[in-house]
């Protein structure tokens, strides 16, 4: 293995952190879901790296599964977001709380 496992772990960690920051900072439900996806992918990369490191095929298999599950997750999430948008006219996470922004649908973005 050319790249040491530690580096892969670090890459996964950094990616995970980035995803986390994304979920925390973006005021948009879709971006939050994207951030979550990034975190999942970071985990997948770490799995792959670990699988390589351990010379097991399992790691990569798990990564594949993660991709599939993540897809399902995104579809559930997006479906909810769409419903929210239909109902409130916004995807701002701040505005879905207790229907605060319902009267001003033009503020979405």
């Amino acid at each position: 293995m050319i790249v040491p496992y530690t580096h892969v772990m670090l890459l996964g960690g950094v990616l995970f952190l980035l995803g986390m920051i994304c979920t925390l900072t973006r005021r948009n439900l879709i971006m939050i879901i994207l951030g979550l996806e990034i975190m999942l992918n970071a985990a997948a990369i770490t799995f792959v790296g670990a699988g390589l490191h351990l010379q097991q095929i399992e790691g990569q298999a798990i990564a594949l599964f993660i991709l599939a599950v993540a897809a399902a997750e995104v579809s559930v999430g997006l479906a909810l977001v769409v419903c929210i948008y239909r109902q409130t006219g916004t995807v701002d996470p701040q505005c879905i709380e207790g229907n605060k922004c319902q009267l001003k649908p033009d503020q979405t973005g």
Partner: protein, 625 residues
């Protein structure tokens, strides 16, 4: 040992003397509350049995060489045992006869006096309770038993003073009596505890005989504490003001409890533990001093009071002060003898007062005089006999006993006591005859005599009979002085010589006559001003009339310091501190709850932030640790 066991027959007699009234009390309170006649009958028969037993005992043990004592164990807790039993010696025999005799007479008198009262049965129930407690008290062989009955006579006193409970002043007087004597009793109890825990014995005979083996400090401390109880019960300074108030009770109650017997229990206790007290000079001096102060203070109070029963009440305090002085001066037999004579004539005085009050429906002696109290000839005659005895005029019983007391005082270490005693003799005669003259020689009387005397004719006859019996006792008692002294001192109590120096024998009767004369000059003469020498100076009159402001002091102590001071402080602590702390805790918990609940309404990303922060933060801390 200092005693022999009581022979079985005497034991039964002693038990019977005590237990019959108890049985009467139980029967009356449980079954006979609605049957007044039966209640009176039961109560009287019980006390009659007691009296017979007492007299039999006295006759049987007239020449007693050694005290008789028998006890059985009533209760035991580890090394502490509570025995009950009887101690028979001269003192207890004498007291037993006095108590049961006076109680019998007073109950007989009450049949007429209390007739028609709605609480008739209750009255006789309480009287039986008292009779039981008092007879058991005088027979008690150890201080605990004595203390128990000491408390019980206090209880019956409370119940009887507040007998007419619808009168607020009566129930307040009862409360006052109970609480003030309780204050003394607490000291008594402490003294008892010292004797029990550090002294190792509470048996009266043991204490009397082995007091010298105990340390002086302990004897003094416990004696002084026990004296606290005596002062409370016998209404001595400074716990004296309950007794005048106790006159709210029916007159027979005052006669029995608050002059003749119950209040004398303090003197009795002092006499019981006389050898023990003698071990401590300090305690004896305190006795002398307290007796002295009480005697003079209450005599001054009696000088200005207009209430006939209050005058006799002050006089009782004063005479008890005499007795305590006598005992404090070492005149054991003198004190007890005065107790005996005093029981007779003071009961007589109170019962006469009761007749007058009943007839005139007022307590004020001037009003009684104006209402024509003197027309009740027998009553007024008996009252005069009693007053003469009280003043110490020959040949009435009071003369003999007072003479002995004066002799004892004269033999005491300081002339102050003797001079004080003389002043007391003068004042006694003065206030007694002030009363007598006010009633006997009123300036003007109403046309009609006193209102119809209540009760049926035979009842009044019984009441008169009782007065006559007591008057006769007062007349003859003095001539038994020698034999009573033999009875009392025959058992190793070393009474000092009772025959004092010559002047003493003359000085005090002269002073008594002087008192009578002064009283006549001020109240008896035709055109007298009917105002005493003390009453002329208004600050002094007010001082005496207000009982030297003792009640104010107590009122201030209880009302201000205790009630509105310490107790209110505790109450404020309860409300403002403890409750406040609780409410603060509860309030902060709910506030935290509200904050936490509000926190959960935050935006989703803030929550995510918390999740990440907590997980990573904690992990980092753990790794660093």
């Amino acid at each position: 040992m200092f005693s022999k066991p009581v022979p079985a027959d005497s034991l039964y007699l002693a038990w019977a003397a005590a237990v019959f009234p108890l049985a009467a009390f139980g029967i009356i309170m449980i079954f006979l509350r609605r049957l007044p006649k039966a209640a009176a009958g039961v109560s009287l028969s019980a006390i009659a049995v007691s009296l017979v037993c007492a007299v039999c005992l006295l006759a049987r043990h007239w020449h007693l060489e050694m005290p008789l004592e028998s006890t059985v164990q009533w209760m035991a807790s580890s090394d502490f045992e509570i025995p009950v039993g009887v101690l028979i010696d001269g003192l207890s025999l004498l007291m037993l006869v006095i108590v049961s005799g006076i109680a019998f007479l007073v109950q007989l008198y009450s049949i007429g006096y209390m007739a028609g009262d709605p609480g008739y049965a209750r009255y006789f129930g309480f009287m039986s309770l008292f009779a039981w407690a008092m007879t058991s008290l005088v027979l008690a062989p150890n201080i605990l038993q004595l203390f128990i009955f000491w408390e019980l006579v206090g209880l019956s006193s409370y119940l009887l003073i507040g007998f007419w409970y619808e009168k607020l002043s009566a129930s307040q007087a009862g409360k006052k009596a109970f609480v003030m004597t309780r204050a003394g009793d607490t000291l008594f109890f402490c003294g008892w505890l010292i004797l029990l825990v550090w002294g190792g014995t509470v048996s009266i005979l043991d204490l009397n005989h082995s007091a010298h083996s105990l340390s002086q400090a302990m004897v003094t401390a416990s004696a002084l504490l026990v004296f606290g109880g005596i002062a409370g019960k016998s209404a001595q300074f400074p716990l004296m003001t309950w007794l005048p108030d106790a006159m709210e009770g029916p007159a027979p109650v005052s006669a029995l409890l608050h002059s003749a017997t119950m209040v004398a229990a303090g003197v009795f206790l002092l006499g019981r533990l006389f050898p023990f007290f003698s071990q401590s000079d300090a305690a004896m001096t305190v006795c002398l001093f307290i007796g002295f102060v009480s005697m003079l203070l209450s005599a001054t109070m009696a000088m200005v009071s207009r209430d006939i029963k209050q005058v006799w009440a002050y006089s009782t305090v004063s005479q008890l002060g005499f007795m305590i002085m006598a005992l404090g001066a070492g005149g054991y037999a003198a004190g007890i003898f005065h107790l005996t004579t005093h029981a007779g004539f003071k009961a007589l005085l109170f019962l006469c007062a009761g007749m007058l009050i009943h007839a005139c429906e007022t307590n004020d002696m001037f009003e009684i005089g104006q209402a024509g109290g003197r027309r009740m000839k027998l009553t007024v005659l008996c009252m005069t006999i009693g007053a003469l005895a009280l003043s110490g005029i020959w040949p009435f019983s009071g003369f003999f006993s007072k003479e002995e007391i004066m002799a004892a005082l004269a033999a005491a270490n300081s002339p102050v006591w003797y001079i004080g005693g003389l002043a007391g003799v003068f004042l006694t005669a003065y206030y007694s005859f002030r009363l007598i003259f006010v009633i006997l020689l009123p300036g003007s009387t109403k046309a009609h005599g006193p209102g119809s005397q209540s009760g049926p004719e035979h009842a009044r006859a019984v009441m008169h009979a009782v007065l006559v019996i007591l008057a006769v006792i007062t007349l003859v008692m003095g001539f038994f002085a020698e034999s009573l002294q033999n009875l009392l001192t025959g058992q190793g109590v070393n009474a000092p010589g009772v025959h004092g120096p010559f002047p003493a024998k003359v000085v005090s009767p002269v002073l008594a006559i002087a008192g009578i004369v002064v009283a006549w000059l001020e109240f008896g003469r035709k055109d007298s001003a009917r105002i005493g020498f003390a009453g002329r100076i208004s600050p002094v009159a007010r001082l005496f009339g207000q009982r030297w402001y003792l009640d104010h002091a107590y009122g201030w102590l209880v009302g201000r310091i205790l009630d509105r001071g310490i107790a209110e402080g505790c109450q404020q602590n309860e409300n403002r501190v403890i409750e406040k702390i609780l409410h603060t805790v509860a309030g902060s918990v709910t506030a935290c709850g509200r904050a936490a609940a509000g926190w959960h309404r935050a935006m989703i990303q803030s929550k995510l932030m918390v999740v990440f922060a907590v997980v990573f933060g904690l992990t980092l801390i753990l790794l660093a640790a």
